[in-house]
């Protein structure tokens, strides 16, 4: 059996040669970004505002601090930990500085854009400084609504998807129901839900569970139904029970599909969350948005939108991280 030795040595585990380039003295991108942010700080601070705007100096200080930090990093170079990850961000940092500067000039400095709708950057700061308590509470309330809804929906959707894909009886009864109900937007149930459930919170949890559960069920089902039957043959000849076939063959093989369903479910649960908060639950970011609009507080609205974007994006990122960990065996995963 000489060939065994041969083939093990030809495909030895990767030996990644780390490139030992001499560290560059100066991080040019960081230098440019630092200068751009310092320039933004100067514009904000020393170009007089058209009108009174609070938090102008704070905005200038924040931009200046960022610019100073970048300048320091560009000179200190390699010695800073994590600098390599920052390196590729330089173009974005420059672009953001330019965006902030022009936004500031068009709003606060020249007042060229219609006033209540276009708030200057310092209006964001004002909201975060003065209304952070309420915004924070809204984030928590939104998460406390989203999390139970999403988890219940994902769990039930997963379980029914496995049942539909595995059991002939479940498929027979479940398929027509899912075909009828599945395409219906979860929001359409909103009037009934608010009427049928004891509280608007439980009604919203139901709607979010529905919105996230249906794509998870459909994708899990198709994942389980599409498992290569050779996997079952192998497992059966090795002595697998029905239980083993479901839990150790069908489910792991369907996992990539399940995650597609989870992403779709998460996205639709966001929209149900916002609508439910606007329509019934008088709390959360959706409610905050509507409240701000009622008071024509556009600064608050934009600030809340930004918070919501960060929250949703953060949750999607979290789901991607979980998937990358669980599906490390897959090649060529989409990076988020």
């Amino acid at each position: 059996m000489d060939a065994t030795i041969e083939s093990t040595t030809t495909l030895a585990p990767d030996q990644v040669a780390s490139s030992e380039d001499a560290p560059p003295r100066l991080w040019l991108g960081g230098l440019g970004a630092g200068i751009a942010w310092l320039a933004a700080a100067l514009v904000v601070e020393f170009w007089p505002n058209f009108d009174d705007w609070a938090y102008t100096t704070e905005l200038a200080s924040a931009a200046g601090a960022l610019g100073g930090g970048l300048l320091f990093a560009s000179v200190a170079g390699r010695r800073l930990p994590g600098i390599d990850r920052l390196r590729s961000l330089a173009p974005w940092l420059v672009a953001l500085a330019l965006l902030l500067t022009s936004w500031e000039i068009f709003t606060a400095k020249l007042n060229l854009l219609p006033r209540p709708f276009f708030a200057p950057p310092q209006a964001f700061l004002e909201v975060y400084f003065e209304d952070w308590r309420r915004l924070g509470e809204c984030v928590i309330r939104s998460l406390l609504l989203l999390a139970p809804g999403f988890f219940i929906g994902a769990a039930l959707g997963f379980a029914s998807g496995v049942a539909l894909g595995w059991s002939r009886i479940a498929g027979y009864w479940g398929h027509p129901i899912l075909r009828l109900i599945g395409p219906l937007p979860a929001i359409a149930w909103l009037p009934i839900a608010f009427f049928a459930f004891p509280s608007s919170w439980s009604a919203s949890v139901f709607l979010i569970a529905l919105a996230s559960g249906i794509p998870v069920a459909i994708l899990t089902w198709s994942g389980v139904a599409g498992v290569n039957s050779a996997f079952y043959d192998i497992a059966r000849t090795l002595g697998a029970s029905q239980r083993f076939l479901v839990l150790k063959v069908a489910v792991p093989a369907a996992m990539p599909h399940v995650f597609v369903g989870l992403f779709m479910g998460l996205a639709s649960s966001f929209s149900v969350l916002v609508v439910a908060e606007m329509m019934g639950v008088k709390a959360g970011l959706g409610w905050y948005l509507q409240w701000a609009q009622g008071w024509a507080a556009y600064g608050n609205m934009y600030a809340a939108l930004l918070v919501m974007a960060v929250m949703c994006s953060g949750l999607v990122t979290l789901l991607f991280k979980i998937r990358d960990r669980l599906l490390a065996w897959q090649k060529g995963l989409l990076r988020w």
Partner: protein, 266 residues
């Protein structure tokens, strides 16, 4: 390369190979409009410890016959006996290695090999067996690798280890080397023969490679076009290790080509 680990696997609880009796097996698949007969009156015996190669035209029903022996499907008519008892379902004493290694991509190499013990609830007691099986196919260093990191030959070795770890009494091989490059194929033919000689299990090998059958088997059974019938049953009475240039084998090769209707290519 008979390592200590390999020897440990050789000392099975039931050193005897399995005896098989095919008692007039018929099998047909139900197509939309009519049945498709695939096996017709298959009748032969396999003695314990024999290495029987099955040859036949592509699509004649060889894989189907192996699926019946594995217990994955019941025959439409007739019976297959293992040591005198009818085969009613799959069992880890009869393991299959297919042309595609079909490793579970979400399991590491070691966890793939551990599949049988895990399914039978023997994971704890079989820990060293699993490591021995990996060592036997020369892949101990890849225990933690995932299947997509392996070459075709390595993946097929893992599939072999996954089968052997169950201490089978019948090894069913369905063109196991069919997709490998010719160098890997030749070296694995030698390894398989060695393994079979050491372990004493009965082996059924489907192959489309006449030389492979002649190099490895104690007996070749030739099937007709679909529906498959036994066309010839030829013992290969040559000692191991065999040599591919052995004039007796060359003669048998010509005979087999004739039986398969390819005499003019020789």
């Amino acid at each position: 390369m008979v390592s200590a680990a390999a020897r440990r696997l050789d000392a099975p609880d039931n050193a005897e190979g399995m005896r098989l009796d095919f008692l007039g097996v018929n099998h047909a698949f139900a197509l939309e409009d009519r049945p498709l007969p695939v096996l017709e009156q298959i009748r032969f015996n396999v003695e314990p410890g024999e290495f029987v190669a099955l040859l036949g035209p592509s699509g004649c029903g060889k894989s189907t016959l192996l699926r019946l022996v594995a217990g994955l499907e019941p025959p439409t008519q007739g019976q297959i006996l293992e040591d005198g008892r009818p085969i009613t379902g799959p069992d880890p004493s009869r393991v299959v290695v297919f042309q595609d290694p079909t490793l579970f991509p979400w399991r590491t190499v070691r966890d793939n090999v551990a599949l049988g013990p895990e399914a039978q609830g023997l994971l704890k007691s079989h820990r060293t067996r699993i490591d021995d099986a990996l060592a036997l196919v020369g892949l101990s260093g890849f225990a933690k690798a995932y299947p997509h990191q392996l070459s075709g030959g390595m993946a097929q070795r893992v599939a072999l280890a996954r089968a052997l770890v169950n201490d089978p009494r019948l090894l069913i091989l369905d063109e196991p080397l069919g997709k490998l490059d010719s160098l890997t194929r030749i070296s694995m033919q030698g390894e398989l023969v060695e393994l079979w000689q050491r372990s004493g299990f009965t082996t059924l090998l489907v192959t489309h490679d006449i030389e492979e059958a002649l190099f490895m088997a104690t007996r070749v059974i030739v099937f007709s076009e679909r529906p498959a019938r036994v066309k010839a049953d030829i013992p290969i009475d040559r000692p191991y290790p065999r040599h591919r240039g052995d004039p007796k084998l060359v003669e048998l090769r010509r005979h087999l080509l004739e039986l398969l209707g390819l005499a003019q290519t020789w």
